[in-house]
Subunit: 217 residues, 2 copies
Amino acid sequence: MTITITAFERSPDGGRGLARDTRVRWALEEVGQPYEVRLVSFRAMKEPAHLALHPFGQIPTYEEGDLALFETGAIVFHIAQRHAGLLPDDANARARAITWMFAAVNTVEPPILELGTARLLEGDKPWHDERLPLVEDRVRNRLKQLSARLGNADWLDGAFSAGDLMMVSVLLRLKSSGILDEYPNLAAYLARGETRPTYKRAFAAQLAVNTGRPPTG
Amino acid sequence: MTITITAFERSPDGGRGLARDTRVRWALEEVGQPYEVRLVSFRAMKEPAHLALHPFGQIPTYEEGDLALFETGAIVFHIAQRHAGLLPDDANARARAITWMFAAVNTVEPPILELGTARLLEGDKPWHDERLPLVEDRVRNRLKQLSARLGNADWLDGAFSAGDLMMVSVLLRLKSSGILDEYPNLAAYLARGETRPTYKRAFAAQLAVNTGRPPTG
């Protein structure tokens, strides 16, 4: 059955890989599943046809036969459940890898999203300059704890898993802020994710949409 | 095997049920599994023994034999996977229920957490009064979409699932704000969750910790 995902017709980040379809593309590359992409405009995302697929009017969505899913974490989890390569076979190790998926989206990502909001939606507000350091410190608080847990390991719990895929994707949002450089083991962890051939293919595919040029290599 | 979870020795909300152990207690009540609780102080949460269980120094954690988990969403998912009652048997329906679990914690909860942060951590800042309506509107944006999807249904996708358990738990954080009353079907959805005997037992159990009186009935 064909897998079809949706992505921005034109991503707000211009193809830096921060749109959430990159996470799903990466998961599909990890498990070696081909997929098709349907591009949607900002206008179409708020129309009934897309809202039927995604109640919050966002991308990505995932369609496969009569199954339709939204929400990146759930889509990545679904891919990881159905295909080998993203979750360990041992039941306890599998539960721990899933734990990192939830930790990425519910513990580490919220302060990072708040930092993005402070910059993008409140950048012109009179409180911006005074408030930004508070928000950055909330991000640092989480990074410090994550850095302590990761230590010298390559990945969060044994081999690379869907938990690492989600955590690396969340940390990618901080790349331009410079904050990650304060935690060298997290910067190295991010770089380790980015150099996976699977990530590179996912990144190239989303970039091609935004530049209008097909991926090379 | 005995299930042991951790909870606050004294919850910051004084027992209003907003501490995340309530979500795990509720899930265990739904599937009919007994559990033990180990209470931890704020000080102990930041010490090595607890950080080994929970790298972000929070509650709840979950221990069962040689399995140790943290992160509420992951714990609820683990309980739902291992015991009948919180996820449908049909594979597609199951994937959709899991989608709502992730939507609760990654799409609906972040702006609600931001609202909590604005009130609790920035309530004394000079920008608080002017900024609060912006943050509230971001919450409304999500609630409006959630309300449109729920419509007249009792639950988000067929029978009550772990997705509803997580979504109701997230919405509970808004109870004192009055915002939920602007969306009568969401207020009714929340009330539907709160009147489940399983929720009532979970709520009573966490309240008893905070009042020092054992639950009655």
